[in-house]
């Protein structure tokens, strides 16, 4: 492949989350909120109204002591690709093209100024990764000074979600451009949650790049819409055909099994 072709090769940014390492500390959630100016309410007790671009779920194996086991599962937007490029559940339904799939980066974007709040995309997303701004964002006095200037705040009445910290990608690209480079190093573009995770459970990179960690761990199978070849890796709701770019890793079978729904009579179908 020529150098120019190499440069133009599409990226497919994705994530691997090692559930055996995740302690459920929630640092990813906090880092995400701070990084992306995610608004919060005075009373956050109703979680169905909370905006959580990154949300940590607690899973249990449903067994009693001493066999009881738990697992924490962080859930960002899965940046689904669908069965053909861009046929993500949410992108395909948005009537105003306010959410889009980038074939250059594999990132599902959200264009706040175009969204008019029909919430159809929320109905389409089985991961509850999308959140509606039921209220206008109000920051405690003084806190607005701490907001990131790289990320716009969102008004009431529109939907938002994790962007894989896209502004960081833009920043890294700008820097590379100024240094007369076309390609980014793996470490140059990392999401806030990846950097904040104290256990190193989250890894981020280009799934198309064989040198990147995410590619090495997940071993996406191009013949099967990126399904992981690593036997310990799985994607949430794999069989629905959403084709996500977030891979989970666990050595525990019950955890891998919790990633999907199976009929009682059915054997877990792995690779």
């Amino acid at each position: 492949m020529s150098k120019a072709q190499e440069h133009n090769k599409a990226k497919k940014y994705g994530m691997v989350i090692d559930l055996d390492k995740c302690t459920g500390c929630g640092a990813c959630m906090v880092a995400c909120m701070a990084e992306n100016n995610v608004p919060f309410k005075k009373d956050e007790s109703d979680k169905l109204l909370s905006i959580t671009w990154m949300k940590v779920y607690k899973l249990t194996n449903g067994k009693d002591f001493p066999d009881a086991d738990i697992c924490y599962l962080p859930r960002p937007c899965q940046h689904c690709e669908g069965q053909h490029s861009g046929h993500s559940p949410c992108v395909s339904v948005c009537p105003a093209t306010a959410t889009d799939y980038s074939t250059d980066t594999g990132i599902v974007s959200q264009i706040y100024t175009r969204c008019f709040g029909c919430r159809y995309c929320m109905a389409a997303c089985p991961y509850h990764a999308r959140h509606f701004n039921w209220w206008d964002p109000v920051w405690p006095a003084g806190m607005e000074k701490m907001l990131s200037p790289d990320v716009s705040v969102r008004m009431r009445g529109i939907v938002e979600k994790c962007s894989f910290c896209f502004h960081r990608y833009q920043r890294a690209k700008d820097k590379a451009y100024m240094e007369d480079r076309r390609e980014l190093e793996e470490h140059e573009y990392q999401t806030a949650c990846t950097q904040a995770c104290p256990a190193g459970a989250i890894i981020f990179g280009d799934l198309n790049n064989p040198d990147h960690e995410v590619h090495k761990i997940a071993q996406p199978d191009p013949g099967h819409h990126g399904r992981p070849k690593n036997p310990n890796a799985f994607r949430l709701l794999e069989r629905l055909g959403t084709n996500p770019k977030v891979y989970y890793l666990s050595s525990r079978e019950w955890v891998r099994k919790a990633g999907d729904n199976y009929l009682k009579t059915e054997k877990i179908n792995k690779h």
Binding site: D46, L48, L49, S50, Y57, L59, L73, C80, P89, S92, V93, C94, P95, A96, T97, A98, R114, C115, F116, G117, C118, R119, Y120, M122, A123, A124, C125, P126, Y127, H128, R130, H131, F132, W134, W135, D136, R156, G157, L236, L237, R239, L240, G241, T242, K257, A258, G259, D260, N261, Y262, L263, K264, E266
Partner: protein, 413 residues
């Protein structure tokens, strides 16, 4: 006092009584308007919707009125395209109901997005792959068609009709009405279908997802079919209601029976298709997603298998069977039971395709979320009903909606 406006040869209640009635309904309407303004000025936090129930009461109401309003396009289709001439005696009322239903649907959508000022984005940034885009375009166009169908009726008001221009306009519009009826039927076939497609294409939601042909899931066709089947029942039930309220017979039995018969056969054929669809979904589509039928109907306090029974048996098979038999249609009690059950049946279907879709957990560690609408949602849902009552009352009083009324109720002094 307003007798000059009332069609010749028919009797209406006193203006005082009428005003009192309109006043009472207007109070309900204002309550709805107040709630609507709250939603627009303060935002959708006025509702009990949340991120699990992003589609809730309103969207159901929207889909339901559009299905029930389907009587307009289907009766128009039968009258103008198929040539069922008897239906000319009920088409005006069907058009009026359709007009009310569709204007209500547009109003509900404007409230539902919480920021109507951005509503035009759907046209401006249209994503042609989205079912909702098709709905928006067809809905707006069809509302235009219904308005065109309603205008000549308004122009037939006794005073307006005295103006030669209006008289000629109404006459000429009547002449070309078949064109509009055909356009309306065409638009309706599509947008009713797209509304079905809205849920059917959600491949991330195994409860809603259906296979189909090309880009159209089976729900696309089922929605069109059901609107055509059940819509006329709504027209008939409102006709019966108006007859009850006014204490007069307004439409001859043969007209009612003809529409009821066609509706009955449509319901029966629809329900066979619906059962086939449900069976295929339960046996093939849902298991492919890892679900059994009962996963969708258990482990929660509300969504039980009774919904399926209510929709298919009580709201489908029973009214269908009653309406296709002559004895059923001729028996007043059975006829009314059937048309009411039919309206319930199609409304339950739309309810399921909106709310249950959202309630069913998809991730294995997710929860069933329940939801109770806030008073603001209820008030804004009742708002179009109040508006509809007012428009029906005004139209009935001042316009010749029922051509057979004079003949059926001769004035004897």
């Amino acid at each position: 006092m307003d007798s000059a406006l009332i069609p010749k040869g028919v009797q209406r209640c006193s203006l005082g009584k009428f005003t009192l009635f309109i006043g009472a309904v207007s109070a309900v309407l204002l309550w709805g308007v107040y709630a609507m303004l709250l939603c627009w000025l303060k935002g959708l936090n006025q509702t009990n919707m949340n991120d699990y129930y992003g589609f809730a009461l309103w969207i159901w109401a929207d889909l339901a009125v559009i299905a029930l309003g389907g009587g307009a396009f289907f009766t128009g289709f039968l009258r103008y395209i198929v040539g069922k001439n008897e239906l000319k005696n009920i088409i005006n009322y069907a058009v009026l109901i359709g007009f009310i239903c569709y204007s209500s649907a547009l109003l509900i959508l404007a409230i539902d997005i919480g920021q109507p000022l951005r509503g035009w984005f759907i046209f401006w940034h249209a994503n042609v792959h989205s079912m909702l885009t098709e709905v928006a375009f067809c809905l707006s166009c069809y509302f235009g068609v219904l308005t065109i169908e309603y205008i000549p009726l308004v122009l037939e008001n006794r005073q307006l009709n005295k103006v030669p221009f209006f008289h000629n306009l109404a006459h000429n519009m009547h002449e070309v009405m078949a064109v509009f009826a055909a356009t309306g039927a065409f638009l309706s076939f599509f947008h009713q279908g797209s509304l079905g497609g809205v849920a059917g294409v959600l491949f991330g939601r195994p409860f809603a997802y259906r296979e189909g042909v090309f880009i159209w899931p089976w729900t696309f066709f089922l929605f069109t079919w059901s609107a055509a089947a059940y819509g006329p029942c709504f027209t008939l039930s409102l006709t019966k209601l108006l007859e009850k309220v006014s204490g007069k017979k307004l439409v001859k039995d043969n007209v009612v029976e003809l529409l009821a018969k066609i509706s009955g056969w449509m319901i029966i054929t629809y329900i066979i298709a619906k059962i086939a669809d449900t069976w295929y979904w339960a046996a093939v589509t849902a298991p492919e997603g890892g679900f059994t039928l009962m996963d969708f109907y258990s482990n929660n306090p509300l969504y039980g298998i009774w919904i399926l029974v209510l929709e298919i048996v009580i709201g489908g098979i029973i009214p269908g069977l009653i309406l296709i038999t002559e004895t059923g249609r001729k028996n007043k009690f059975l006829l009314i039971t059937a048309i009411i059950l039919a309206c319930i049946g199609v409304s339950v279907n739309r309810w399921v395709m909106v709310l249950q879709v959202m309630a069913v957990p998809v991730m294995s560690f997710d929860i069933w979320a329940m939801y109770i609408p806030s008073w603001q949602e209820v008030a804004t849902t009742i708002l179009p009903v109040a508006y509809g009552v007012i428009l029906v009352a005004l139209s009935y009083r001042y316009l010749p909606i029922f051509p057979q009324e004079r003949e059926l109720n001769p004035i004897t002094d």
